[in-house]
């Protein structure tokens, strides 16, 4: 019997696995499975999403035969299994259910496509079917790094050390976010990453930083519980998807089938990020039992993220979560910011329109930002236009009840970062510049016109 830990790549769901069972009368049943989950060296768990023939068969006759395919090498592994039990709660169930719910939500199948039980099987035998393949051509074999990343932990540990140092050196939230995303690329070569933070309501996440995407996507929002990222946030669990398309296709197949059965799932939300992502890893950032954010990584490679990535990045996620939590705490801030007169340096006009009903801000007819950051910008621009102010403090924003900042630990810092980055992208003539701890300065290179309207 070969060790199950060697099959880690087959257990990521890149290609569906095959399962054969047999009822008491001796009639075999053949079907495909989306997920075979590694439990320990003697056990695997299969996802039971519908009470189907496979489940009925193993209750009558506990034996099953599963074929796993390694999508990189086309090697086939065969497992002889014996059904042990079905789990409907606990760590194993939760971990499998989160992944399935994430996929279900992403394909608009929330509630229809869910885990009924994690079915645990004892592994009686595991073998490679060598006869399946003819001799490989020399250059067909994958590089050793892909074959066995666990065998070379030193480079990965150095990467972890590097990343940890970069994160711990950051003095403010803005630097922390960019250090983290840059560090992920430097240490592990992850080119496509994104960080989301919860907004004031706690019902949504917003993207505050990203790396490796054409459009930054900063300001994009995700509802808690929606899609892969929303599910990671709500469940506070890591979700890794070995082949985004396989899993989404699987979800869509069920959706079509459900629609034909008269069930009407909610509309599909578009996957944020790479249009051709093959794998995803999303980690919750949790500090003192509070969700402080979600870190999301994508790769164009199938099975781009491995077990060790999950473990190593879990460590990084904890460190980052604590750092974010600390940075959101209020520091000592000066009560009275200095005043200076505003000097418009250019005759160019930027027209800001504020829709008061939904706190939505447009600049020159294009959407800029909304909610709390929209209200903050409106307050600042009004003070600038009517009182010629340029210096502002976090404290005065916190004191302003109309902005709706939460009482204790607020997220003002993260909202200001979002506002600053949206302005950089959409209206570089207006900038928010740090001016010491808890202070910032408004720099304006254009004449600003302000219009307040009811929502369109």
């Amino acid at each position: 019997m070969i060790p199950l830990s060697r099959l880690h790549r087959c257990l990521q769901g890149v290609t569906p696995s095959q399962i054969v069972t047999c009822d008491r009368a001796g009639i075999p049943n053949t079907t495909y499975l989306s997920q075979v989950h590694y439990v320990d060296e003697r056990h695997v768990a299969l996802s039971c999403q519908f009470f189907n023939k496979t489940r009925r068969n193993v209750e009558e006759n506990p034996y099953a035969c599963v074929n796993l395919l390694d999508a990189l090498t086309c090697d086939t592994y065969q497992l002889d299994l014996k059904y042990v039990r079905s789990e409907t709660s606990g760590a194993l169930f939760d971990s499998m259910a989160t992944r399935i719910e994430a996929i279900a939500s992403q394909t608009g199948m929330k509630g229809v496509f869910r885990l009924l039980s994690a079915d645990v099987y004892e592994v009686l035998d595991a073998r490679k079917i060598d006869e399946m393949l003819v001799e490989p051509e020399r250059d067909d074999s994958p590089p050793p790094s892909v074959l066995d990343p666990i065998a070379r932990p030193r480079g990965e540990l150095r990467g972890l050390h590097h990343l940890s140092q970069r994160v711990s050196r950051a003095v403010d939230l803005d630097t922390l976010l960019s250090s983290l995303l840059e560090g992920l690329q430097e240490a592990y070569g992850f080119e496509h990453s994104m960080l989301l933070l919860p907004d004031e309501t706690g019902k949504r996440l917003f993207a505050v930083a990203s790396r490796g995407y054409g459009e930054s996507g900063v300001g994009a929002e995700v509802e808690m519980g929606d899609g892969i990222l929303g599910t990671v946030a709500r469940e506070r669990r890591i979700v890794r998807i070995g082949d985004v398309h396989t899993d989404l296709r699987y979800g869509r197949a069920i959706r079509r089938s459900a629609r034909d059965s008269g069930l009407t799932p909610s509309p599909e939300i578009p996957l944020p990020g790479l249009p051709d992502a093959q794998s995803q890893l999303a980690l919750p950032l949790v500090a003192a039992d509070r969700l402080v954010g979600v870190l999301a990584l994508e790769s164009r490679k199938p099975a781009g993220f491995d077990d060790w990535h999950e473990a190593f990045l879990g460590v990084v996620a904890s460190q980052v979560a604590m750092a974010i939590d600390r940075m959101l705490e209020r520091g000592e801030e000066p009560a009275h910011p200095s005043r200076a007169s505003a000097q418009p340096a250019s005759e160019r006009v930027r027209a800001f329109t504020y829709y008061r009903n939904d706190d939505c801000m447009f600049v020159d007819g294009e959407y800029l930002i909304r909610n709390v950051p929209g209200k903050i910008l409106w307050k600042i621009l009004r003070a600038h236009v009517h009182e010629q102010r340029v210096d502002f403090s976090n404290r005065e924003l916190r004191m302003d009840a109309s902005l709706g900042m939460p009482e204790l630990k607020d997220n003002l810092e993260s909202r200001l970062i979002l506002l600053r980055r949206r302005l950089e992208e959409r209206c570089p003539d207006v900038r928010l510049v740090r001016a010491g701890r808890g202070l910032f300065r408004l720099e304006v290179d254009a004449r600003v016109s302000l219009v307040e309207k009811d929502s369109p």
């Binding site: 001796g26 099953a64 459900a258 069930l263």
Partner: protein, 159 residues
């Protein structure tokens, strides 16, 4: 079990580039599964010829000689459309040159499907398929197998 025969549409499906899983069992009801490399339907659509690579077919053939019970699932990787048939083993023979042409057509279509799903052609072409054994089966029942609440519904035309 209600006897069924393939519709024209299902013939096209089972002869296209779909993943083919053959399930059998031994006298102790221990199940066994293997990948087949192509299938063709008989003109009357009641029987199928399925091609098994000789190198991997020992257990399947022994099981079929013992009890004849067989299930086959055809699944298209790009959208998971799947059907399962239950049948009875009629007999086996070494595949002929004509069978080999059918298998070559199947392999070309199947590799394209795999390529769409991210498996390199240089990798998938390593799958052994020749010499192969042709097994003939009589179709007893056909089922919808696409994952979802409708999985398990009967399919095909009544005889």
């Amino acid at each position: 079990m209600v006897a069924a025969l393939l519709t024209e549409e299902l013939v096209d499906f089972v002869e296209s580039g779909v993943s083919i899983l053959v399930g059998t069992r031994n006298a102790e009801l221990r199940p066994h599964g293997m990948r087949a490399m192509g299938a063709t339907a008989s003109p009357d659509r009641r029987r199928l010829t399925i091609f098994l690579p000789a190198a991997t077919s020992t257990r399947t053939l022994a099981n079929l000689e013992d009890n004849g019970a067989i299930a086959v699932t055809f699944s298209r990787p790009s959208d998971h459309q799947s059907i399962q048939l239950k049948g009875r083993f009629l007999g086996s023979r070494p595949a002929t040159l004509e069978d080999r042409f059918a298998q070559e057509r199947y392999r070309a279509a199947w590799f394209e499907q795999l390529h769409v799903c991210g498996v390199a052609r240089s990798t998938s072409k390593r799958w052994a398929y020749w010499p192969s054994v042709a097994i003939e089966i009589e179709i007893d029942a056909l089922f919808q197998q696409t994952p979802g609440p409708g999985a398990g519904d009967a399919l095909g035309a009544a005889r």
